[in-house]
């Protein structure tokens, strides 16, 4: 089989693994959906005084997509690759003819598909439950945002495994990285409620820029309208950093 055919073969089984793993499905699919429904019910009809005023539900649809995308890519990869590494599965794979990059490519393909699926699901639920308009006009830049962000957060996820020492530490370290950033970046709390100093701190990290890019796509009247792709520079820079760290420090063998 060629490398690409092998990666597709790997991807098919990775999809089965993903959908059969309760933790993956809960954190990537159920948790964002639950979050969207609860927040939507609470804030429905309100206006958020950020970026020139925005409908609250329209604000939270891209927020929840941010959550789902980071979860489908970085969080999933960091946790699952660590579990596979510490269980000896990655080491065993290195003993087969399967090239290492093909295995990682299969997992990343899986993350891309899941992220895209969550984008569709959350957008559809926003439209059905809370009348949030589907951003048909901004679909092309939004898909570019999804692709670049998925690639970048996958690279960061693989890089993150290099500082996780054990499978027990994986959920703690991963959540310690993402949850504060969700709060600081306005994903959980409207950014109008967050002091500007805090937002400046969040500006250093990629989650806020991903959220801003998605938000601009969903509401063309916001201050950052049309700047989707500009926001991606910071996200991509973090992706490159993650890629370099992953390339240099990724381990296939468990820590002894």
């Amino acid at each position: 089989m060629s490398g690409l055919a092998l990666a597709l073969h790997q991807f098919r089984y990775d999809q089965k693994v993903f959908w059969r793993n309760p933790a993956s499905v809960f954190f990537t699919v159920m948790f964002p959906v639950m979050f969207l429904v609860l927040l939507g019910v609470i804030v429905n009809g309100q206006t958020i005084h950020a970026q020139g005023g925005i409908d609250a539900t329209t604000y939270f649809v891209p927020a929840v997509i941010t959550l789902a995308l980071v979860s489908a890519t970085m969080v999933n990869l960091a946790m699952n690759l660590t579990v596979l590494r510490e269980g000896g599965v990655l080491k065993r794979l290195r003993g087969t003819p399967l090239p290492g990059w093909v295995f990682i490519a299969g997992r990343i393909g899986n993350a891309f598909v899941t992220a895209l699926l969550m984008f569709v699901l959350v957008t559809a639920l926003g439209r059905i439950l809370f009348d949030v308009p589907v951003p048909w006009g901004r679909l092309a830049p939004l898909l570019v945002v999804l692709a670049v962000a998925s690639a970048s957060f996958c690279a960061m996820g693989v890089a993150l495994t290099t500082i996780i020492p054990s499978r027990e530490a994986a959920p703690a370290i991963t959540n310690l990285v993402v949850f504060p950033l969700y709060f600081l970046s306005g994903v959980f709390i409207p950014e109008s409620e967050i002091p500007s100093g805090v937002l400046h701190v969040a500006d250093v990290f990629p989650i806020r820029h991903l959220f801003d890019a998605l938000l601009a796509g969903f509401d063309p009247s916001t201050a950052s309208a049309g700047s989707e792709l500009g926001q991606l520079v910071v996200v991509a820079a973090w992706g490159v950093l993650g890629f370099v760290v992953a390339l240099r420090r990724f381990r296939w063998e468990p820590r002894r």
């Binding site: 000896g88 290195r94 087969t96 003819p97």
Partner: protein, 323 residues
Amino acid sequence: MRGASNAGGLVRPSIQSALVAEPVIRARGLRKSYGDLDAVRGIDLEVAGREVFAFLGPNGAGKTTTVEILEGYLERSAGEVTVLGLDPTDAGGRWRQRVGIVLQQCNMQPELTVRESLELYAGYYESPRSVAETIELVGLESAADQRAGRLSGGQQRRLDVALALVGDPELLFLDEPTTGFDPSARRQAWEVISSLRELGKTVFLTTHYMDEAQALADRVAIIVSGEIVAEGAPDELAGRGGGTSSISFKLPVGVVAADLPSEVTLAIGERRRLPNGEVTLHTEEPVAILNALTGWAIARDLQLADLEVRRPSLEDVYLELTE
């Protein structure tokens, strides 16, 4: 052979026999050090094609270090190694097509069924075995559609072996394949390994169970503290004690060792103090000693509880060498 090319017709047979005799695994002066610690101290190994070779030794003796060097996971500190004609450190995918590996410890992907796991791995190889056949080989037919996470420990290990076999390798490494098994799971695993011999595979097995090496292996090497201390067929090794047999029995209450006939006390030698009256002696002439012992017991109408005569097993040799 390099200088012999001018010898014409005479060279052919020797080249041929050299090809036939080319070992699957050959190590010369293999050494591995971690800082000051010498895990493997210059060992020589040779494993022929279709041979089941057991690498026997206590925990920490250097078994896994050696096997992981042969598998290409670890780099050696010194020495020469060829496995299937190549140096495992720089052998690529083509070489991996021919090698199956069962690590000492490896989880299965819990979300995939036995059949799916094997289909996934079969896809990595150019000419894999049939999945159904491989499942049958390891005796997992009844669990074929169960997820790996729901299998028992023994079943998971058999799936592990099946994953190593599905690529139809010529050479199989099994690192402590039955550690932690209950007796019946071990017997089943032994049957699987025996069937590998029938398939014509070369098997390199590490174990710390003597009976496992004795039951499965054509040849055994015993490694202690990074050095090979004995090597040979299991029966040959067991006979190393020079045909010494051991006789053991329990003295009746009220009888002491000094009361035994002189032939017997002589054979017991220095070890006069006997806890609970249990006696074990080693002798080259078990028949004469038994005759003296039983004659003495019958004359006094004594029972000798737990009377036993044993030929030395691999275990005795092993314990002697590793103590």
